[in-house]
Symmetry: C6
Subunit: 268 residues, 6 copies
Amino acid sequence: MTTDKEQYKVHKEPFYQAQGKEVVLYEAAYAARLPVMVKGPTGCGKSRFVEYMAWKLGKPLITVACNEDMTASDLVGRYLLEANGTRWLDGPLTTAARIGAICYLDEIVEARQDTTVVIHPLTDHRRTLPLDKKGELIEAHPDFQLVISYNPGYQSLMKDLKQSTKQRFTAFDFDYPEATLETQIIARETGLDEATSAKLVKIGQTARNLKGHGLDEGISTRLIVYAATLIKNGVDPKDACRMAMARPITDDSDIRATLDHAIDATFA
Amino acid sequence: MTTDKEQYKVHKEPFYQAQGKEVVLYEAAYAARLPVMVKGPTGCGKSRFVEYMAWKLGKPLITVACNEDMTASDLVGRYLLEANGTRWLDGPLTTAARIGAICYLDEIVEARQDTTVVIHPLTDHRRTLPLDKKGELIEAHPDFQLVISYNPGYQSLMKDLKQSTKQRFTAFDFDYPEATLETQIIARETGLDEATSAKLVKIGQTARNLKGHGLDEGISTRLIVYAATLIKNGVDPKDACRMAMARPITDDSDIRATLDHAIDATFA
Amino acid sequence: MTTDKEQYKVHKEPFYQAQGKEVVLYEAAYAARLPVMVKGPTGCGKSRFVEYMAWKLGKPLITVACNEDMTASDLVGRYLLEANGTRWLDGPLTTAARIGAICYLDEIVEARQDTTVVIHPLTDHRRTLPLDKKGELIEAHPDFQLVISYNPGYQSLMKDLKQSTKQRFTAFDFDYPEATLETQIIARETGLDEATSAKLVKIGQTARNLKGHGLDEGISTRLIVYAATLIKNGVDPKDACRMAMARPITDDSDIRATLDHAIDATFA
Amino acid sequence: MTTDKEQYKVHKEPFYQAQGKEVVLYEAAYAARLPVMVKGPTGCGKSRFVEYMAWKLGKPLITVACNEDMTASDLVGRYLLEANGTRWLDGPLTTAARIGAICYLDEIVEARQDTTVVIHPLTDHRRTLPLDKKGELIEAHPDFQLVISYNPGYQSLMKDLKQSTKQRFTAFDFDYPEATLETQIIARETGLDEATSAKLVKIGQTARNLKGHGLDEGISTRLIVYAATLIKNGVDPKDACRMAMARPITDDSDIRATLDHAIDATFA
Amino acid sequence: MTTDKEQYKVHKEPFYQAQGKEVVLYEAAYAARLPVMVKGPTGCGKSRFVEYMAWKLGKPLITVACNEDMTASDLVGRYLLEANGTRWLDGPLTTAARIGAICYLDEIVEARQDTTVVIHPLTDHRRTLPLDKKGELIEAHPDFQLVISYNPGYQSLMKDLKQSTKQRFTAFDFDYPEATLETQIIARETGLDEATSAKLVKIGQTARNLKGHGLDEGISTRLIVYAATLIKNGVDPKDACRMAMARPITDDSDIRATLDHAIDATFA
Amino acid sequence: MTTDKEQYKVHKEPFYQAQGKEVVLYEAAYAARLPVMVKGPTGCGKSRFVEYMAWKLGKPLITVACNEDMTASDLVGRYLLEANGTRWLDGPLTTAARIGAICYLDEIVEARQDTTVVIHPLTDHRRTLPLDKKGELIEAHPDFQLVISYNPGYQSLMKDLKQSTKQRFTAFDFDYPEATLETQIIARETGLDEATSAKLVKIGQTARNLKGHGLDEGISTRLIVYAATLIKNGVDPKDACRMAMARPITDDSDIRATLDHAIDATFA
């Protein structure tokens, strides 16, 4: 693994619209190198926020999409068989600890417990990462920080972070942006006019109100951006909304009817 | 892996009969490189549609039949042991991202979660694929697009896409073609006369009406094509229908009696 | 793997007694290279039929006994470590696709889903087999055909073919031969006189009537052949029947008493 | 694997006392090379019988103790990595098929299904063993025969042979020998006097009567031989019986009291 | 693995405030090399205590964070493939036994049973560690001691130490420090004034009282330190408390309201 | 694996106090090389007894702590990859069979079934160990004997030895020593005076009476030895008893109160 710090830098300012004090508070957490947990529903901008902070702080960012088949070795590293025997290959967490990157473990709750336990010594006063298989104890680079994301809506008895993990993080709550802000985001990101953008946001909010009444999750800002993009590319607004905002999220005919009705009413 | 772009091109126009605006809408989605989810029952032509679009757009197509034993490495790639040590072998998703192909993940819901999570960074503004095991971050080729298929009838609590995955796609609904169109498809694809083709389609529709009343799925267009092919090859229509349209889909004697009755009545 | 076509040819005509139109219908299916599913209970002659058809058509036959630990790699192939690095080894399905053999997957329902999904592209208009791990896309030889066997009695919620797999096959129903035919089969295959053979068949039918009333399956033709063989070798008919037709299939004392009674009555 | 036929020969006549016609019937089954299933409770002499028959027929015997972690490869063989690449290593079943041994799969029901399916082509008219991973199809040596053991008392819904496996075997029932015969066996095998041997057998029968009333299995002949051996070595009969016949089989205090009472009464 | 003893020494005195006689009692246990189990809730200072004792005793400390995917090999060691064949690599437990370190298995109850059984011979009069795979029997260095941590709140039927493991340890109970002591700890560790520290501790105690009434665990001292650190770095106390003491531990709106109320009341 | 017989010899007489005729009876079992099962609760001295017998008989002893992740290969051996190809490495059971050691499988019931089945041919008249993967059949050395331990308190439907395994062993029952004997053991092993030792034993018996009334197991002799050791090292008896005899075995506050009361009353 080329531990070239530069390749992990975020070179272009990501588009990010602050919703509250989160930028200042994150900077305070980073200043003390406290681990951070960003909480919120799917597609509300958690990953974008972390990318933005990495850019703002000028630190490399290493993102890992966690999943239930990921092992601790996938994070920490493994021996690789080569012509001259084995070679140790740092995993993304190890690389981040060495070069002083912000390591962002996305959807940590999906990972198996060994993945979550492995981060413990990096998140207390030790700030170390023992590579048991290599017999090496890494002291984290002073710039290293650990960030994880967490979707409270997915919590279940089977899949939740252990308290001994949770209690190692400071936490931020995120939610979908409120209407005016979200309209601006849509308009700026896609170039669609504000009036149409506002209509899309209104449909999105209708869907979000259905959460818990037949929908597991509301419609993310991302899907509204998809719809806006299609309209910008010449697709009829109703077709665009159906294709980007209704069809992907549900097959329930009642919910679909409600969404289609909202779409037709909005673009009547 | 020979990443020879040409080998993935669809050189001959696949037979495809549009059912609605899907061709135009797909083109709009592709223009913005939005990820696409094609939804619909078994054998209604989802794969054929994607193949057709790849041909129409002149883009290479890489198809992966997903299954529950498929790992993220099967998609992304792995190290291969060789005489001079290990060599990295790109998986089909990585190849598609490099050469700018349409990557079609068939029956994505069958795959394990690590397979579905691995596509996330390819489906948002990042359009990247981190090869964690290789320490490489691939930026997708401008022509790359991700398409997945999804059969809503198979949805279950155990096997469904996560909302955080669903909300990364625009979606199309597919269904069996309506009778006139399906008759034309049968006739054109097999060379059977339209009258007999229409009879087969009628039997097929009888079976589709049994869906939910003893049949898990209706009879696909493919099975009707099978029956037509057998008749064209000289098999008695009743034998052909039993062999291609009744025997494969059920062992329930009541359903069989209903289907056999429909066959006998149609070819009396 | 020596892909020597000849080693897979069936050189001697297998003993096969047709029960209906199955030979002609199979030939029609093969002529159009339609995939075939042979359905029926244990030991009714499904495998023998496929072997016979391969002999009649003069095509190589590659048989794979499926099981729940079989992986897709067992069918498709894998890399083998050698002195000079790795060498690809075709699996039986790949070999069949390359040399134009009939590939017979016995008891497909036992296999894991990845095994069944892997055959999909070989069973539709594509007739291809993607070797993802090798980066090769095989176009099936024009003579290639896929045949699977399926025992409806074993169907369960846990283990059944997916509709998306079933709907890729034409299907034949098989059952135990009726009495006169089965008597001829026993006599011809073992050289036992027809009178004694008929008695054995009668006992077999008694057992088949117990199916669902304490027996999971009836007695197969194979077991009747076993009994006939033992009698031919000088074993007392009652001992032969007990040893070949009663003891193997049940430990239930009531069922055993019923079977023993039938044996004693028949050979009184 | 040295396929030295001689190493698998049973050179010394094993002590075996026939209980009925089993020797003659086995010879008839072997003459026709019919597969054999020996059924019966723990320690009633099934393995000893097979060993005796191998000695009597002068054929090599390869015994495999089946278990739930045994894979098909453990039976069939596997590639072994060596200095000059990989070398194929025949498994015990393959060796038996090649050299013409009797292959005895002990407690087959413990094995996973892939192990049981792998024997199918060896147990019908084909008498072949396909080594899929090697691309070789072995025709069994004319002397090869397959024997399996099966304990009906262990049958459960989870672990039972499939009918498609059962229906490939002729079967023998075994049970503990009746008292006079068992007394002779004990006396001859251990050199203990017949009077004391008879007393031990009587205690054994008491225990067997408790089967189903607190004991899962009766006391095997083997445990009676243990007790006799200890007595022959100078241990007090009551201590010997407790140590060899009561303590090993149960921790239930009521059953222990009953057994201890029988022991004390017999050796009062 | 560099078994450099020095790298495992704790070179700087860790900040540790004794709660009772635990330091003296630990020294007595270490003097007799008795294995030690430290019990207590998340974040009460168990790991810190062990680190402190290692520093006080001047012994190397090897810490292993246990997890459910850890195998015995992860503790004991494994063979590593190298250019000149395989090389044995000691695991952390083996290293500790060789160099005479205190081996601290953190959250042992998370580990699989093979991990817990492997420590048995090291915890009785034998003080040995058999490396079965290497054929070596290690006698523990005279300075070696085994320490495990255990959180009684996590005990469940599925995950608990076996009595045969528990009965190999002397045990200490830990709990959160009482208020005055905890205030001092906060103040000394973060440099925050005692008055504000006391307020934070008071909020922490409110949360601890909610344990069992909607909270699985109380707030750890660590989280209070986080809050104090943020305040020291200029964050508003209410924001700091929300971010470090409320948001990480719960998403329940009632509990959050209670905690927020306590925060607002304290810093009104 | 160095099969150096001497390294497995027990060179120093282990401290062992006989409870009954077990030494003489074991000698008789060993004389006939009968397999032995030692039964009893945790920490009652089973392992110590086996070690003592190995010393008395002057035979090497190879102990294996069984666990649920142990495979048959861990016992029997495996191929090891080396520079010049693979090398076979005997497992502990194979080593014991070759050099004529007593092989002691501790807590056999924890092991997976393949581990228990693998010992079968070593425990009947054959006294052989087939190394299937190596194609070698080992005849056990005349001095070889197999010993297993078994804790009846752990028996459950899920984890119990199969009768076909149990019926291959003679068995001894062990229990905690009665009070006078245990007092002597404590005093001799730790050097503590008999009066204090007796007090500790009395507390231990209180705890044993709680077995089944809130405690899964009584307090083992080992824990009493721990308490005595701590007292000998200057720890206050009440602290020593709490730390060694109460804290390790339970977190139930009622049981703790009962035990603490007994401790305080005894050392009032």
